[in-house]
């Protein structure tokens, strides 16, 4: 049993009281859900439990004895391990190396490569992880990274496992598998903490649930006695209007935005799609990742692209946005060819893009948030003229950043480093940053990653409003429900090809496999099946094993 008593955490760097007198108990053999709105302090509390950070006050007991965690090693020694929201793996290592790295045993122990690799592979297979032990950590997908992190905890026989929003980017099937894994761990007597914003499924799985609100524990309840509505109330309180969509639009002082009117006044372009992809093919080291994909994103529409692991989702995302040069085919934004021209051309053609890799790519975590927020806008702040030597207009940037902060409803100084903001805040901030761009096409990867339920609803309304204004959104997601909630059309990617198209316009569904309409729940299942290739009779899913 692990007990946290009276935990307080004050961050002197930005003056935030993240936790005030929080109590938390984790029993062996239970799944304990930890819920709360963005910035409630969930991650902070669990970081304290796992020894990543020290509390300002309060005490930790394991099995009744007072312990002191100067670092994660001490927590791990007590059997407490955490799978971070973005697991950090050693780059350049192979999976087995990353997994045995911290395992108990003499530091000077001789490592027999073959034996170790086999052992890791065995444990991985035993838990049903599809994780090749000799794959490089740099090429792992997000879910694989998570599994790698779990595996390393299992290998060191952690008794208490903490999962920080593990399901945020998992497909329904993967979520199911992970929950199954948690169930098995529970039956082995291990204690599990699950942080999640998906209340329904969490409540269905968990034994107990603790609700955090603004750094305080509002309740710890038996999961089967409460409904998700009740939890919601505990999370947000009753004053939910603070989270309503701010109607503030671009402030008047912003210059006329010529960049956003690419082709808008142009009669002949009026009907042309904002994004047109033809015959897009990507091969890396002779291996096809994307095979001749065609699709269009018409004006005013929201297109979702769904896919499971290895379907090529990420590769498509990178190839579309100019981060990866396709080996064939074309990408046109607003009538301009952007393939093979790098990310800058893609943006210049009138598109914004939010990458799935929040911490590594979309934000400079170590630098002040300010720097991350002006990454696109700073070019407009440059006075451009030769005489000005590129000096940026400060007042414009100040106003711009303030505008983004307002839209994201984050009220903290943007001079703090990005890493001192909670996961959900960062997500809102990067979303606000991209939506503030004067463009017509928005490419989003995992748009609701890390958002709490309120934030998610807000995002969906916003995206819909955005599309209603004649602009388009292309959303990549493993979360089918999110796509169903907002998209007009969903493309399902499998083996680097578009396996199916679902038109969702009026709750009706038309795909290649089924022509009839079906209920909302039916769609979800159907898409899910298409994603993993079960709905299809003909071509069996290709072997995806990496050599």
């Amino acid at each position: 049993m692990v007990e946290l008593r009276g935990i307080q955490k004050y961050f002197p760097a930005n003056g935030v009281h993240a936790l005030e007198n929080a109590d938390f108990t984790l029993l062996p053999g239970e799944i304990h859900a930890l819920v709360g709105e963005n910035g409630a302090g969930k991650s902070t509390l669990m970081h304290i439990m796992a020894g990543f950070i020290r509390p300002s006050a309060g005490s930790i007991y394991t099995d009744g004895t007072l312990v002191n965690f100067p670092g994660p090693a001490a927590a791990l020694a007590c059997g407490i391990g955490m799978v971070r929201q973005h697991p950090r793996l050693v780059p350049g290592f192979q999976v087995w190396e990353a997994c045995i790295l911290g395992s108990a045993g003499g530091a000077a122990g001789i490592i027999r490569k073959k034996k170790m690799r086999k052992m890791v592979q065995e444990v991985s297979d035993q838990w049903g992880f599809d994780l090749p032990a000799d794959q490089g950590t740099d090429t792992l997908t997000v879910s694989q990274r998570q599994k790698c992190a779990i595996l390393s905890l299992l290998l060191r026989n952690a008794e208490y496992l903490i999962f920080d929003e593990p399901t945020a980017v998992l497909t329904p099937l993967e979520t199911e598998r992970l929950f199954d894994l948690m169930g098995r761990l529970r039956s082995q007597g291990k204690g599990i903490v699950l942080i999640s914003h998906k209340l329904e499924e969490t409540l269905a799985l968990a034994d107990r649930v603790t609700v955090l609100r603004k750094g305080e524990v509002t309740a710890t309840l038996r999961a089967d006695t409460v409904s998700s509505e009740e939890i919601s109330t505990l999370m947000f309180g009753t004053d939910r209007e603070t989270r309503s969509d701010s109607t503030a639009d671009f402030p008047a002082f912003l210059p006329e935005q010529p960049a956003m009117v690419h082709g808008e006044n142009d009669g002949e372009h009026e009907q042309a799609p904002l994004l047109r992809v033809t015959g897009l093919t990507v091969e890396i080291s002779k291996r096809p990742f994307i095979r001749s994909i065609d699709f269009e994103v018409p004006r005013g529409k929201i297109i979702g692209i769904a896919g499971v692991r290895d379907s090529g989702l990420e590769t498509l995302e990178l190839a579309l946005t100019g981060f990866l040069n396709p080996s064939g085919g074309t990408v046109e934004v607003n009538g301009t060819r952007t393939d093979n021209k790098g990310p800058r051309t893609f943006r210049k053609a009138g598109a914004a893009y939010l990458s799935a890799d929040r911490t590594g790519t979309a934000l400079a975590m170590q630098l002040p948030l300010w720097d991350s927020l002006i990454v696109h806008a700073h070019r407009r702040a440059e006075m451009g003229l030769p005489g000005h030597f590129g000096i940026m207009k400060r007042s414009y940037l100040e106003a711009w950043v303030q505008h983004i902060m307002n839209r994201a409803q984050v009220s903290r100084s943007p001079r703090n480093p990005a890493e001192s903001f909670s996961g959900g805040m960062l997500q809102r901030l990067v979303l606000a940053r991209e939506f503030a761009e004067p463009v017509q096409l928005m490419v989003l990867a995992e748009p609701s990653w890390g958002l709490d339920t309120a934030g998610r609803e807000l995002l969906i309304t916003r995206i819909k409003k955005y599309a209603a204004g004649g602009k388009s959104v292309l959303a990549f997601s493993t979360d089918v429900e999110e796509l169903i909630a907002m998209a007009d059309e969903i493309l399902v990617l499998r083996n680097g090809e578009i396996a199916a198209r679902f038109l969702l316009g009026k709750q009706e569904l038309r795909g290649p496999e089924t022509d009839g309409a079906s209920s909302g729940q039916g769609i979800r299942e159907l898409i899910g099946q298409t994603m993993v290739g079960m709905g299809e009779s003909s071509s069996a899913p290709e072997d995806q094993n990496r050599e």
Binding site: S59, G342, G360, Q366
Partner: protein, 352 residues
């Protein structure tokens, strides 16, 4: 919300506290070391602290050495902000200065000030080229610039030694140096007979320019983002690797300029090995300033003062080289200690 008055970053303020504490500690250490090492501590101490400013002549020399430090350390700081590290500064200063000397000694009949401008350009071009080579090697071959800048410098330094002790040497003297440049080919001096020349004004302007570039311009923003967060930069349409060569080029350029200042301003001729550690000291200054251009001013001032001070103590009382190196070591190491980090250590003692 927008009522918030332009919130200032916290980090610099803490860094400022840290620097003050550091300064006090460094001074204390210097005092103790001098007191222990010197036969006449009082005289040594006086020489150490007041010596560098005891007369216009000394002040001029001190300020001049600070100007050289500023110029070179601006080069280091820029390289660093652009995501690279320049370990070849010493050689770039030397070879830049040599190129300038060669021009200033040439028989051309242009007016003196034109020759000075040509010489400055030559020095910057040579230094910049040395930096750019390393930048290109990094980009083209992925060769670590830490090593290539250093090796390139050490490969070329003997050749420069040869030129100064051979073809360019003043055959009438016994010094291993070029002849003195003509009077109109020496930078105008400010505080004669000290070595202070207009270079100090140029250096100050350049450093301020460097700050404006980094903090206030679009290219500067891209430059520093490319250096500090290359992945993120790429996401923002900034190709980080494109900034390596310019970063090293400008770094070499400023080192070359420092070499020009040294020969055309400070010495009026080119001596064998005249940089005498200037490149290394510039690294120290840049690191003390945490690569912030404006912070180079206090850092170079303190560093130059301490150096001039130990020289003064050396001259006044024969305080040995050993003692001087102890003092410098102590100041160096203390200068980068992050005293701002200590509260963190204190927090740990909070009862669990």
């Amino acid at each position: 919300m927008s009522k918030q008055k332009n919130p200032r970053p916290r980090e610099p303020r803490q860094a400022a506290y840290g620097s003050v504490i550091t300064l006090v500690c460094a001074t204390l250490v210097a005092v103790i070391l001098i007191a222990v090492n010197s036969a006449s501590p009082a005289a040594s101490l006086k020489a150490f602290f007041a010596g560098p400013w005891s007369s216009p002549w000394f002040s001029g020399n001190t300020l001049d050495s600070i100007a050289l430090l500023l110029t070179a350390s601006l080069g280091i700081a820029l390289a660093f902000r652009g995501g690279t590290f320049n370990l070849g500064g010493e050689g770039q200063i030397y070879i830049g200065g040599l190129a300038a000397s060669a021009l200033l000694l040439s028989g051309e009949t242009f007016p003196g000030w034109t020759m000075l401008i040509f010489a400055a350009i030559a020095a910057m071009a040579v230094g910049g080229a040395m930096g750019a080579v390393s930048g290109l090697l990094k980009r083209r071959f992925g060769a670590n610039e830490l090593i290539t800048t250093f090796l390139l410098s050490s490969a070329l330094t003997p050749a420069a030694d040869y030129l100064i002790t051979g073809p360019l040497r003043d055959p009438s003297g016994n010094l291993l140096a070029t002849p003195r440049f003509a009077a109109d080919r020496i930078l105008p001096h400010i505080l004669p007979p000290s070595s202070l020349s207009v270079s100090c004004i140029i250096a100050a302007v350049l450093v301020i320019g460097g700050h404006i570039f980094i903090a206030g311009t679009g290219p500067g923003y891209r430059f520093r983002i490319a250096g500090a967060a290359p992945e993120f930069a790429r996401y923002g349409g900034i190709a980080a690797e494109r900034y390596w060569t310019p970063a090293l080029f400008f770094s070499g350029l400023f080192h070359g300029l420092a070499g020009f200042f040294a020969v055309a301003g400070t010495y009026g001729m080119g001596h064998l090995g005249f940089p005498g550690g200037l490149g290394w000291n510039a690294i120290a200054v840049a690191l003390i300033a945490r690569n912030h251009p404006l912070a180079l001013f206090p850092a170079a001032l303190i560093y130059g003062w301490l150096k001039a001070g130990s020289d003064a103590a050396l001259l006044a009382t024969g305080l040995g080289f050993e003692a001087a190196s102890f003092i410098q070591a102590a100041v160096l190491i203390l200068a980068t200690v992050r005293f701002a980090g200590f509260p963190r250590l204190r927090l740990r003692r909070v009862r669990p």
